[in-house]
């Protein structure tokens, strides 16, 4: 009789641990999803800002047609792969980032543009959106790391394998230019 109670107690305890671990995994997976949605919001915001930016600087930068076109092209490409996985996306977004930073680097040569109120407001928005993208990526990667640790470490990996939790994908920066961000000074 006592043995039965002990066995029942152990089973109940295991069940409780199982439930707790499962709920923890669900929570982490949702956090990863939310973090990914946040990156999405910021990337969309960047797509929306770029036509405005190109429109504003076009009049001033007659000789930089190539740079402007590269930005527009990179933006359209990035928007096309917007529903793809993290790996494909981060490559396209990395290219867009580097095209943008090239554009902002040549702005240095146009003092009248730097005095334009409209451009200054856009520049602040763009700087901040770039920051928000990297901060949301940072938070996303932190969340993925935490989630992956949980799915791979003992004993939670048993629960994860039984209930089908798969490891998440990191949002890495693949473009070499983006990794070594050129130090642009547009004060």
């Amino acid at each position: 009789m006592v043995a039965l109670y002990i066995v029942l107690g152990i089973v109940a305890l295991l069940l409780l641990i199982f439930i707790g671990t499962y709920n923890g995994l669900v929570g982490l997976r949702n956090q990863v999803k939310n973090a990914w949605a946040q990156i999405d919001v910021q990337l969309k915001r960047r797509y929306d800002l770029i036509p405005n930016l190109v429109e504003t600087v076009k009049g001033y930068m007659q000789h930089e047609r190539g740079t402007l076109e590269a930005v527009t092209q990179a933006r359209n490409l990035a928007q096309q792969v917007a529903s793809a996985g993290a790996a494909v996306r981060s490559k396209a977004e990395g290219e867009l980032s580097s095209a943008l930073s090239r554009l902002l680097a040549v702005v240095e040569n146009y003092p009248e543009l730097k005095a334009n109120q409209n451009f200054l407001a856009l520049q602040e928005e763009l700087t901040s959106t770039e920051n928000k993208i990297s901060f949301s990526r940072q938070y996303y990667n932190d969340s993925v790391l935490k989630y992956n640790n949980k799915t791979q470490m003992f004993p939670s990996n048993i629960v994860a394998a039984m209930t089908g939790f798969k490891a998440g994908e990191f949002f890495e920066v693949t473009s070499p230019e983006e990794k070594a961000t050129p130090k642009v000074k547009f004060s």
């Binding site: 956090q31 973090a35 946040q38 910021q42 902002l104 407001a121 520049q123 602040e124 928005e125 700087t127 901040s128 920051n131 928000k132 990297s134 901060f135 949301s136 940072q138 938070y139 932190d142 969340s143 790391l145 935490k146 640790n149 961000t181 130090k183 642009v184 000074k185 547009f186 004060s187």
Partner: protein, 403 residues
Amino acid sequence: MWEQIRSNRIRSILLVVSMGILLLLLGYFFGLYFLGDAAAGIAIALIVWLVMNLIAYFQGDSILLSISGARKISAEDHPRLYNIVEEMKIASGLEKMPDIYIIDDPALNAFATGRSPDRAAVAVTSGLLQALNRDELQGVIGHEIAHIKNRDVLLMSMAGVMLGTVVILAWYATRVMFFSGMSGGRRDSRSGGGGQVQIIMLAVGLVLMILAPIAAQLLYFAVSRKREYLADASAALYTRYPEGLASALEKIAHSTRQLKTANNATAPMYTVNPFRHEGRAASDLTSTHPPISERIRILRAMSGASPADYERAYEKIKGRPGMIPRSALVNSGSIPLRAPSAAAGAVEDSAAQLSRTRDTSDLMWRLGNYRTITCDCGTRMRIPPGFRDRTVRCPHCGRVNHL
């Protein structure tokens, strides 16, 4: 990586609990002497504490914001500040965007308030907006968001209320003792059997009444300082750029202005202690904030942005570990730092500073309901809120402008 928040919270809660024990002890002796019943004293202490807690919980943030004269702003009022707060909200994984307030004060400071992360606000002084560049402001906002994320505001207001209750009870007890010549105590000793025990208890009670407020204050300061270090570590983690906060703290340390609207109760909410005295190093035990120079040195000694890096830097500067518990650091390696943001620039030119000053003053005028109109000759005029006329003459060219 985020686990240190939890284990640090346990330590802070321990400190708050010891303040609670102090409060109960005080209530016990208070009841014993003046009411002849220890339980009644404890009940009174608890009721006072509960009422104050309820007020602090439901009204604390609005009281704090209104006594500091803060005014709420929107994204259009100051895009840079709004963006930076949003950036830090994203980096910290906070779910709701906190409200943003501006305090019209040339002193450099900022604070966070709100009982939960869903109902939070950050406030910065206009002086701070004017003095700091983008990276520095980001560091300061990161520190404030960390206070919200780590739930320091709730913890500190709970500790503050406890401190307040202890001080009030002790104050009241000493007054009563003074005026009544301790008649209550004597009556008790006459009726009780063991006079010796009574005298000892009386002595203990007396000492407690004098020491309790001081002890509570010291405990309160200890909690507060711990939270400041932790908020610094979190700000470095969010921004990946501890130099931003370090250089902001340096600017704040060099500014000589004191905040007009701070008082002892609101002090721990600020980034730096608003009551710094020039030329006097804040002594370690009796301050709500660690010395600024030490915080700067720790931030500058960081070789990465993770809490583990902060702990290493802390150990190097202070010569002892203990900011973040060992158990929390097992899984957190070093995180590389980022380069300063392009917009901030390594060396600041006067043009950037000038434009920041102009932005800030425009904002303050706008918040004061002044209207700005620009005459055709380029002169900008500010129209006060009570202005009745429909036209205004430009003082430079004499053109009549219609409002």
